[in-house]
Amino acid sequence: MVLELQKPRPIWQIMFSTHHTDVGLMYLLTSLTFFFMGGALALGIRAELFYPGSQIIADSMTFNRMFTVHGTTLIFLFLLPFASAVGNYFIPIMVRYKDMAYPKLNAIAFWMIPPAAALVWLGFADFTWYATPPYSIISAPGPAADMWIFGLKILGVSSVLGAINFIVTILKCKHPDMSMGQVPLLAWSFLTSSLIVLVAIPTFAAALLMLLTDRLGVSGFFNPAMGGDPIAYQHLFWFTFHPEVYVLVIPAIGMMYEIIPRFSRKPIFSHSSGIFAFVLLSMVSFSSWAHHMYATGMSFTEKTVFMIGTLAAVPASAMHVFNFIATMWNGRIKFATPMMWAVGGIALFFSAGAGGVVNAAMPLDFQTHDSYWVVGHFHLFVMGTIAFGSIGFLYYMFPYITGRMYNERMGQVHFVMSFIGTVMVFFTQHVLGLYGMPRRVYDYPPIPEWITMNQIATVGAMIIGTSMVIFLINMIYSSGKGKIADTDDPFNLGGKYYWPYEAKNPHH
């Protein structure tokens, strides 16, 4: 029993513990809660767009607030905390240390999330997840915007604290017998993504403060009416958030590196090329931020530089895909639920990357930018790749955490429905973008093609939504009533492919 949750303990003991598996569990439950809350907003958005005109949402202001909070929630309150959950459970075990390097700091980083989440949800701002000025200064209504700014500020600090903890745990607390080359790829993924966080986040933290003082009217950094430059904000924002998308995707790839070899019953094709690709990605992630800004009126030279910087990230991403395929090649693959999610995620990762190359090629970006194409593009990453990897990993962790097995059949139905739904929603959104439908719209003109595509997307979203209910039932039911798992080899992989990590960290 490695990640035990078996001995019944009062809930407050788990909540106020600093033990890495307890903090991990808190992260996990928080993240799943917000996954369902944010997902519910998405279903509302899709229902509204099922047909032109007003369907279920009374006015565009509510709609705008919904997609703003949807995006903010799923990025910052689902994906990031989910990665922290996995990191908390696994990193100390993988580097054979008794806990995270700074257990109290770890708990503090977690406990910053609930107040930040409350600010975001109670405020319910409308200025999209990137709060672009001058809209966010002169137009965004009321305390909602300020609450969002403070919420994000707190989340940024929490991320930085978490990143420091992971870096120190891996570099300093690693067992002396273990070389860096032997550190598992999942841990490498946390090391590299944490380094990105340290370099990237401060820029946005500064931009948020500047935005706040601009809103208060005491400065005019981004306010053209006071001589400021709104484009400067976009540079600061994307300098943080392009790298941040890799902060999200890198741990998910790390999780796939745990699942793929185990369920292929083969060692990873190349451990060193995995490490190399992580390190490379973390560096080139900083060379492409302004590919989000081609349409702001950048010069030809600027656009060229950022196109090259963007394309430079592609080979590193492609190396991971190669590594996965080469690992599965000739393997004795067992398509249990975690493996299905991982393989599905890799397929979607590949499609997403191909779409990204189209965005990066500057004349083509003027077709896709700020259209539904972009929504499709990044959802193939955030949903298709990262959420898929994460959900697969959750199934994988499940027996180790609860000591019980989830229902395999329900897990597979969950996957198949989600995969079909994801293709229906996000591939169609690419097409919608090519038809010219702008993103972030409450309503659209009744053009027959647009209606058809939107309806396919909405039905796809409902399929995903239904599959998530199955998922929820499976998790809740099985954690109490599931078959007792053989925690030495819950997936029946045999031989040397079961739980490979020796450290067991009992509660202190």
Partner: protein, 145 residues
């Protein structure tokens, strides 16, 4: 960890890099051509504001929500905004550029055929962003306006 040879991976990476170089240079070349504004292009000043578009022709005539142009001419849009960011978009002609207060962004196009096309805003700008629409009318060259 196996000590197998890695040559398939190197070939694969080589192919990916070659592909990226190809995409990049094609894109670079295309964008260079697209951005070359003809010297005789007529200027149209485009102003976005919550939530409509205003157009001002060289002769001083103004239009709101509608834009009339002629086949066979080249037009240069000088785009700006009065309040928040917008994005001026004629999707059928792949005209897309942000309208940013305090800045003038330029893009050009040459209408090819008589017809009507949608003008829309493609940058979130608040309440009525979804309906910040207009129509482009492309007319015969000889027709008097």
């Amino acid at each position: 960890m196996g000590h197998h040879s890695n040559w398939p991976e190197w070939i694969y990476i080589g192919v990916v890099i070659a592909l990226m170089v190809w995409v990049g240079s094609e894109a670079w070349n295309a964008e260079r051509l697209v951005e070359h504004i003809p010297a005789d292009a007529e200027v149209i000043k485009v102003t976005g504001q919550q939530w409509f578009w205003t157009f001002e022709h060289e002769d001083g005539t103004k239009e709101i929500g509608e834009l009339h142009v002629k086949v066979g001419k080249a037009y240069k849009f000088e785009i700006t905004s009065k309040d928040v960011d917008h994005a001026f978009n004629i999707h059928d002609y792949v005209v897309l550029l942000d309208a940013v207060p305090g800045r003038i962004n330029t893009v050009w196009f040459a209408p090819k055929e008589v017809g009507e096309h949608a003008i829309q805003c493609r940058e979130y700008c608040g309440l009525i962003h979804y309906n910040m629409r207009g129509t482009l009318y492309i007319e015969e060259a000889d027709k008097k306006s």
